[in-house]
Amino acid sequence: MKVRLSYFLLILGFGVFYACSDDSISSGPTPYQLEIPGALKLNFPPPVIPADNPLTEEGVALGRKLFFDPILSADGTQACANCHSPSSGFTDNRQFSPGIDGIVGNRNSMPLFNAAWNFGERFFWDGRSRGLEEQALEPVTNPIEMHNTWVNAMSSLQAHPDYPELFNQAFGTSIIDSSLVTKAIAQFERTLISGNSKFDRYLLDEINLSPAEFRGLNVFMAEEGGDCFHCHGNPANPLWTDNDFHNNGLDSFFTDKGLENVTGNPFDRGKFKTPSLRNLVFTAPYMHDGRFATIDEVLEHYSTGVKVTTTTDPLMQFSFQGGVQMTPEEKSDLKAFLLTLTDSSFITNPAFQAP
């Protein structure tokens, strides 16, 4: 009987082994099921997932590990998350973020969420990168950021006890290159979805806005009021950005030419990407150069501080009088509305923290 049982277990074991190994050969990494909150599904397109970089459980997990690992920097001290921290809506709260050599640039670290809906696929404040994968290439070698070389970064990853196997699980090869690194990081970044703010729940008829918040929404949507909606979305576009580029009248003279540096077109001078208004409470300071420390300062700019130049956007329709000239009550209401775009569950989401 013992012998028979042993044979049976042996056959069963082979069967399981055969089934498992066959399955692993044929299926590869496990497709990642992206959970899209209700407010981002209300008459809104699905996100952009490149055909050559589908989301997988293994790829997202690898991207998350890489995002929080300082191994990509030249001296092993700086990770993506140093300047893109979950608690700050995946930016940081400094005007300019120092790289590994303590040198700062002239641009504020951009928040990271809902990037998968950037159909224009232009990233950075000046749109110089096409796609999240291309965007992730630059910080590694930028001398004022991680100041590394990709050859060195890949060498570090290849020599690591875990990464070769993790790349094998995610991409079917343990030979690591920059393309796979950026694909993994981009996969993780596409999972960073924020769609659970008070306003999102209002859109889903789960809660009501306060009178001040509702008045603020009207200020936001009124062309003769704040006129924010032309660039910053509306209740039907819950990204709260048009992902386009505008000169919003910050300066009379430009030390940073923004989009013009990329296109070479002088009519693009001083144009920068419209940031999302989601999670503003976490993402200070504001503007491409982090010049405004508070939301109040931002509102004051649009109210009275707009400068007129050749490239100031015509949508700054009140630029002739310095801005939209909001009353204190309108500013207070508008701020109350903007704070309804705060998604606290996004910054505490366990899936978005360091592994």
């Binding site: 809104f44 009124a222 039907a236 100031t312 956007d313 015509p314 329709q317 630029s319």
Partner: protein, 258 residues
């Protein structure tokens, strides 16, 4: 090219089905026509593309010098007419974006082969289709028209600058539903009727020309000193746009092949 809401589409297919089954017995089963509409733009004959944007190259009827920085508009409900007055409706909409050179061409396949003598389309959405928040791609394009102004969608966004005593001033010529008073709105779309065409071959390329200058002159001479910004809630401006828009479109080149 995007479809209008599903119910309309289903009804339309039902109507088409009944029509073709019941009436068109001599129609060859697979004899369909491909029609491509090419949207081109000019300012009193001078070609306008994104390459001409930002330059103060245009002078309107009143004599104001102006530039363009953005031009996008919506067309929907394209209809082909037969000589006997019957028509075939295509329940699509198309956002023409001159700034980004998208939507400049719209191809409709499976057009029932027949002899057509006219074309029309709705500029914007008619009152049935102008449904707030209903179209995902237009929401992504932030094409929405505020609820306080009647909701639905923009029909056109034309922006740029004009010169006033040598000084650059912004204009935002945004067209959509007109607000008569608080809570009272007036539909403001119009239908562009383009007759004088004969379509009777398998493939047709049709140029739809927008003369931008017409927005400023016919029948109302546009005055930037009165109407340049904050025009969305301005009832008078919206009605003037509606009236001037009717002469903006014309047929251009029509190429046909079998």
């Amino acid at each position: 090219m995007k479809s209008l809401n599903l119910l309309r589409l289903a009804l339309l297919m039902l109507v088409f089905g009944v029509f073709f089954t019941a009436c068109d017995e001599d129609m060859v089963e697979d004899a369909n026509t491909k029609v491509t509409f090419n949207f081109t733009h000019n300012f009193d004959g001078a070609n306008v593309t994104a390459n001409e944007f930002n330059l103060f190259d245009f002078i309107n009827e009143k004599g104001d010098t102006l530039s363009l920085t953005k031009l996008r508009y919506l067309v929907s409900e394209i209809r082909l007419y037969k000589a006997n007055g019957d028509s075939v409706l295509f329940p699509f909409y198309n956002l023409v974006d001159v700034t980004n050179s998208t939507g400049l061409s719209l191809t409709i396949l499976d057009v029932p082969q027949d002899a057509y003598t006219g074309i029309s389309f709705v500029f914007g959405f008619d009152s049935i289709n102008n449904i707030s928040d209903a179209y995902a791609d237009l929401n992504l394009a932030s094409w929405n028209w505020p609820e306080m102004l009647g909701g639905g969608y923009h029909f056109m966004q034309m922006e740029g600058k004009f010169l006033e005593q040598g000084e650059e001033k912004p204009y935002a010529y945004h067209h959509g539903t007109a607000r008569v008073s608080e809570g009272v709105f007036e539909q403001n779309y119009f239908t562009a009727d383009l007759s004088g065409v004969t379509l009777n071959k398998a493939n047709a390329n049709i140029e739809i020309k927008m003369n931008i200058a017409e927005w400023y002159k016919n029948p109302n001479t546009w005055d930037f000193s009165t109407y340049s910004t904050m025009l969305m809630p301005n009832y008078n401006a919206q009605i003037l746009m509606h009236e001037n828009g009717k002469s903006v479109f014309s047929l251009g080149t029509v190429d046909q092949t079998n």
